[in-house]
Structures are given as structure tokens and as C-alpha cells.
């Protein structure tokens, strides 16, 4: 039972799926126009291209991330002119080095195609900011800074977004940060509260 689950579920039936819509371009990396173009234009920075469930992911080197996204945005045959999402993943439990991935989801409104660009980097490395290319990256990058402590180079206004300005317990979406944080809320004036009943159910 468990082995069957590990190796991936039932055989995929052919035909259109309700979630897989073919809007990520050709499924073979060799045929995908964006992959071909990026590989030709940036041979040194292109790492690889992966396809999973029809979704095309291009992995690139961190320093060239901004140039590559600019190229994808402005090249007349690609025109990925819409930034769907920008976020990060802490890869601490999956690999040793480098620690983070920054994930950029692009969409092309005229061509109706999506693309994902990823770049790996270590804690403390500056990541080129996308705010010069897409204004919408502003808050997304602030959020990534708040949650992961990633420094975006060239961001106009990098400060805490969701947590309080004086939050001093680190960056909560890092994998080494516990779900419940390090401290309980203490009301000023009641510095030694009685422990909550709930803490009996604390997970390891």
C-alpha cells in the first residue's frame, strides 16, 4: 500500500484533465520556446528545465535572474508580461546547499501561457529584485523578506509587511522556526501568566 503511494498513483489516462489545461506550452523541454530561447541567450546561467504535470520550470542562476525575466518579458515571441506570483521556498530539509529557492510565476496575457522560473541561493545572498520589471513584485518581495529574511537587491522599500515592525523572533516560514513560535503572548503588566491548558497538546 505504502509503496504504491510512493511511486505515484494510478496511471494517467489520456485526454484533457480538469486541472491540466495545456496552458504551460509544450511538455518536452526541448520543444518549449521559452526554454530554447533562454538556453540560447544565456548559456552560462541556464541550469535546467523540468516538466511536472505539464508545468514547465526553468532553473537559472541567481545573478542573472533579473536579466532572464526581463528577456522573457520583452522578447516579442515570448511576452511574459504578467507576474503571477513571487515567493520563496526554504529547502533546508531537501538539500544541503544552497538553502533557498526563489520562485517566480510568470504569465503571458497575449499568449495565454504560464512559466515558472526558479533560482537557488544561500542565506544572505542578495537576490535581484523584480520591482524594476513589475511593480507588483513590491509587496510580494516584502512579504518574502518578512517570512524568510531574503534580501532583495534594488527593492525600494524593504521592511516588515505582515508581522509587527518590532518583531524580533526571526522569520516564521523558515523550516527551523517552530509552528508556535518561541514565545507566548504576554500582556504588558502580566509577565508571568498561568500556562494555557492548550499547551498540554503541544506537538514535539
Amino acid at each position: 500500500m505504502a509503496e504504491e503511494q510512493q511511486t505515484g498513483g494510478p496511471a494517467d489516462s489520456p485526454g484533457r484533465r480538469i486541472w491540466a489545461t495545456g496552458h504551460w506550452g509544450p511538455t518536452e523541454p526541448e520543444e518549449h520556446p521559452a526554454v530554447i530561447a533562454v538556453r540560447e541567450r544565456f548559456p552560462d546561467s541556464f541550469v535546467d528545465a523540468v516538466n511536472f504535470r505539464d508545468e514547465m520550470t526553468i532553473r537559472v542562476d541567481r545573478p542573472a535572474l533579473r536579466e532572464i525575466v526581463l528577456f522573457l518579458r520583452d522578447e516579442s515571441s515570448l511576452r511574459y508580461n504578467f507576474l503571477s506570483d513571487l515567493t520563496a521556498v526554504d529547502m533546508l530539509r531537501l538539500r544541503d546547499n544552497p538553502r533557498f529557492d526563489v520562485v517566480v510565476q510568470l504569465y503571458s496575457i497575449p499568449r495565454r501561457q504560464r512559466l515558472r522560473v526558479k533560482a537557488a541561493f544561500n542565506d544572505g545572498d542578495p537576490v535581484p529584485s523584480m520591482t524594476l520589471l513589475y511593480e507588483g513584485a513590491n509587496w510580494l518581495e516584502r512579504e518574502a523578506y518578512d517570512m524568510f529574511g531574503i534580501v532583495f537587491e534594488g527593492h525600494p522599500d524593504l521592511r516588515r509587511m505582515l508581522l509587527p515592525d518590532d518583531w524580533d523572533e526571526g522569520h516564521p516560514l523558515r523550516k527551523d522556526y517552530p509552528l508556535r513560535g518561541y514565545r507566548e503572548y504576554v500582556q504588558p503588566g502580566f509577565e508571568n501568566p498561568a500556562p494555557r491548558v492548550r499547551s498540554r497538546f503541544r506537538r514535539p
Partner: protein, 410 residues
């Protein structure tokens, strides 16, 4: 009538300072407890007289750590939290997450369940737009709108309640379909609602569309240029009000939206009034989609997958066969493990593109769950729109973006 909110709004003058030149700037703090910020949004405005020269939204008063919760619970356990991100359109959030995980696992719900998912998603869109219309009109001064809108919203909540027992936080979808049967009277209730609602919508429009106060408060206010809208990654009515045709249901169809016949309404001027018109037209299209679903839908058939290891086995076979009993036990105790990989599933939420980015490392717990919520990104346009606007327009601008703080802050 005793519902009066205009008096005593706690806008406080927090700081006042004179500049070196003759102009005087004032910093005005609005929120986090303010009746027309739709929750706990706080906006710090810099004013020159009545004109806004700086606007800095402060978020996070409802940041609850939903993404962290997603990383520490099993795939099927996370569904209830998706309800609580955008709580006025909970079924849409369920839908986005469930579609993302189904895509990760490579399974697909049966046809009948898919149609019901579409119906529930469209009903959620209607409920959300009704809350938006009521509160937006209330902020601008049309108090009675909210009474009418919430009256019709109760009919939608009745449908949800009949189906899954909850009014607001529905938690109605399961991996591979629905875990509950469809009650016999549900199609009739949905049809009744589709018959009632268009008349009511005419009523709303007769109250607002040609109302001189409404027009002067919304026409030419908060204009977003098309290029700026794309650059700021706006989605939903904020983008379509500026005339850009991007609706996830048409552009990258999911479920059976490619079988549906519907229009994507577009605005021309990109102001508050156009976004109002776009949303009103969207409601009409939603009703037509629901009717088409009811017509095309097979009347019986399975509501959930049964064979897949990713889906909880149906109740009667658990009671009858040993294998299903074991499978059920493992599913409940251990969860299911999708293959390694990552997916990004976008759906058209009532507020725009709702994306779920799920990374799996082959264990029963997601490695990363990311919610790309539409209103978080759309709210970025508030400083852009507020620049140069009058103070009284800020409530109209906040209302037109259609934010729900649970989904902005997550």
C-alpha cells in the same frame, strides 16, 4: 432605522507638523478599527489639505500563519484553513486547493462532482460580490443596499447549509470529489435561486446605476491605466475594469469552463464605476453559468473517485470489505503521499486570480503551501489610486478593490 455609522468614525489625527515652506502636511491614521476598512486594515495617509499625497497601507493585523499551518499538517487536513482565508467565498478557496492537490496526485473528480464544484464556486462568487456590493455601497453612503444584498446572500448560505451543514466555513470539497451526497432538494433550491436573483439584481441597479450621488462618488475616481494594471499584477475586476481581458476561466480554463458559454465583461475607463459595472455583469454571467451547469449535468453518477489511493474509500465499502477498511485506516492515520513535485494551480476567485503553489517532497505533509491571494496583490494599487485623490474617496477606493483581510494577511 438605527444603523448609523457615519457619526464618530475613529479617524484620529495622530501627528501634525509644519513643513519649511508654506504648505502644511498632516499625517492621518485610519484603522485598524475603522468601519469602512472592511476589517483590520490600517492606512497611514499623508494629507495636504484635503488631498492625499502619500498612502501607506499597514497589513498584518490578521496574519494568522496559514502557510505555516499548511506545512505542518497533512494534505487533507489543510482544507478547513483554506475556508478561513477568504471567508466570504469559502468554497472557491476549497476548490483552488483541492484542484492543486489533485493535480499533484494526478487524479480527477468524476463529471457530476465537477459540475457541482462549478456551481458551488459560482455561488461563492455571487455571495462574495453581494457582500462587496453591500459594504461598498454602505461606505459610500447608500445604506439600504447592504440590507438588500445580505437578504439575497442568505439564500445562497441556505444552499450551502443544505449541502454541507455550515453557512460560512463550508469545508465542502474532498480529494477526488465530494464526501457527502447531494441532497435531493438541492438542484431545486439552486434553480429557485437562479429564478429569483435576476429580478433582485435589477432592483439593485435601479437603486444605484443612475443615482446621481453614486455617480458623482464613483465616476472618474480611482482610475487605473491599463499598463499600470498589468504592471501591478492586478487581477479580477480591477484588471478587467481597465479593459484588459484576462479571466482565468477563459484564458486557462479549469473544470469545465471551456464547455460554458459566457462573456467576460470589460470596462473602458478603469474607474470605480466601471469596476462596479463589471462586477454586476459578472453576477449575471454567474447565474447563466449555474443554469448551464444544471442543464448539462448528469443527474446521477458517482460523486467521488473510489479506486484511487489518494481518496478516502466510500463508507459502505469500508463497512463491507477488509481491503477498504485497511485503506481507510491508513488514509486516516497516515494520510496519502503524492509524488515529488510542485504545482501552481490558478482559479478565478471572485476577487481575481487565486493561486495555490504546492510543493511535495513525497511525504504525507506538504513541503510548502503558498497562497497567492488576489486581494493581497490588488491592494497594492491603493497607493497608486489614492495619489492626488480626496480624503473622502479613500473609502470608495478601499471598497472598489474588494478586500477581505483574512485573505490579504493569511
Amino acid at each position: 432605522m438605527s444603523l448609523e455609522i457615519s457619526q464618530g468614525t475613529p479617524v484620529e489625527i495622530s501627528e501634525e507638523r509644519a513643513l519649511t515652506d508654506s504648505r502644511r502636511q498632516m499625517v492621518l491614521n485610519m484603522g485598524p478599527q475603522h468601519p469602512s476598512t472592511h476589517g483590520v486594515l490600517r492606512v497611514i495617509l499623508t494629507m495636504e489639505g484635503e488631498t492625499i499625497v502619500g498612502c501607506d497601507p499597514v497589513l498584518g493585523y490578521l496574519h494568522r500563519g496559514v502557510e505555516k499551518l499548511g506545512e505542518t499538517h497533512r494534505y487533507s487536513q489543510f482544507v478547513p484553513w483554506t475556508d478561513r482565508t477568504d471567508y466570504v467565498a469559502a468554497p472557491s478557496n476549497n476548490l483552488g486547493y483541492i484542484l492543486a492537490v489533485e493535480r499533484l496526485c494526478g487524479i480527477e473528480a468524476p463529471e457530476r462532482a465537477t459540475y457541482w464544484r462549478m456551481i458551488m464556486g459560482e455561488l461563492a462568487r455571487l455571495a462574495s460580490h453581494l457582500v462587496w456590493l453591500g459594504t461598498h455601497a454602505l461606505d459610500i453612503g447608500a445604506l439600504s443596499m447592504s440590507l438588500y444584498c445580505f437578504r439575497e446572500r442568505e439564500l445562497i448560505l441556505d444552499i450551502f447549509e443544505t449541502f454541507c451543514g455550515a453557512r460560512l466555513t463550508t469545508n465542502m470539497m474532498e480529494m477526488g470529489g465530494f464526501s457527502r451526497p447531494i441532497p435531493d432538494n438541492l438542484p431545486g433550491m439552486v434553480r429557485d435561486f437562479c429564478n429569483i436573483f435576476p429580478e433582485k439584481q435589477v432592483e439593485y441597479e435601479s437603486l444605484l446605476s443612475a443615482n446621481p450621488i453614486w455617480l458623482s462618488r464613483t465616476r472618474g475616481v480611482g482610475v487605473i491605466e491599463p499598463d499600470a494594471a498589468i504592471s501591478m499584477s492586478l487581477t479580477g475586476a480591477c484588471l478587467r475594469g481597465s479593459g484588459i481581458n484576462y479571466d482565468v476561466r477563459k484564458a486557462t480554463p479549469y473544470l469545465y469552463y471551456d464547455r460554458m458559454d459566457f462573456e467576460v465583461p470589460l470596462g473602458t475607463r478603469g474607474d470605480v464605476y466601471d469596476r462596479y459595472l463589471v462586477r454586476m455583469e459578472e453576477m449575471r454571467q454567474s447565474i447563466s453559468i449555474i443554469e448551464q451547469c444544471l442543464d448539462q449535468m448528469p443527474t446521477d453518477g458517482p460523486l467521488s473517485l473510489t479506486e484511487s489511493p489518494y481518496v478516502i474509500p466510500p463508507h459502505d465499502s469500508v463497512m463491507k470489505t477488509a481491503e477498504d477498511m485497511q485503506r481507510h485506516f491508513i488514509w486516516v492515520i497516515k494520510g496519502f503521499s503524492p509524488p515529488k513535485g510542485e504545482v501552481y494551480q490558478a482559479i478565478e476567485h471572485s476577487k481575481g486570480e487565486l493561486g495555490y503553489y504546492v510543493v511535495s517532497d513525497g511525504t504525507p505533509i506538504p513541503y510548502r503551501v503558498r497562497l497567492r491571494t488576489p486581494d493581497f496583490v490588488n491592494l497594492q494599487s491603493l497607493p497608486y489610486m489614492a495619489q492626488g485623490a480626496a480624503l473622502a474617496d479613500v473609502v470608495a477606493l478601499i471598497g472598489t478593490i474588494d478586500i477581505v483581510l483574512g485573505s490579504v494577511d493569511r
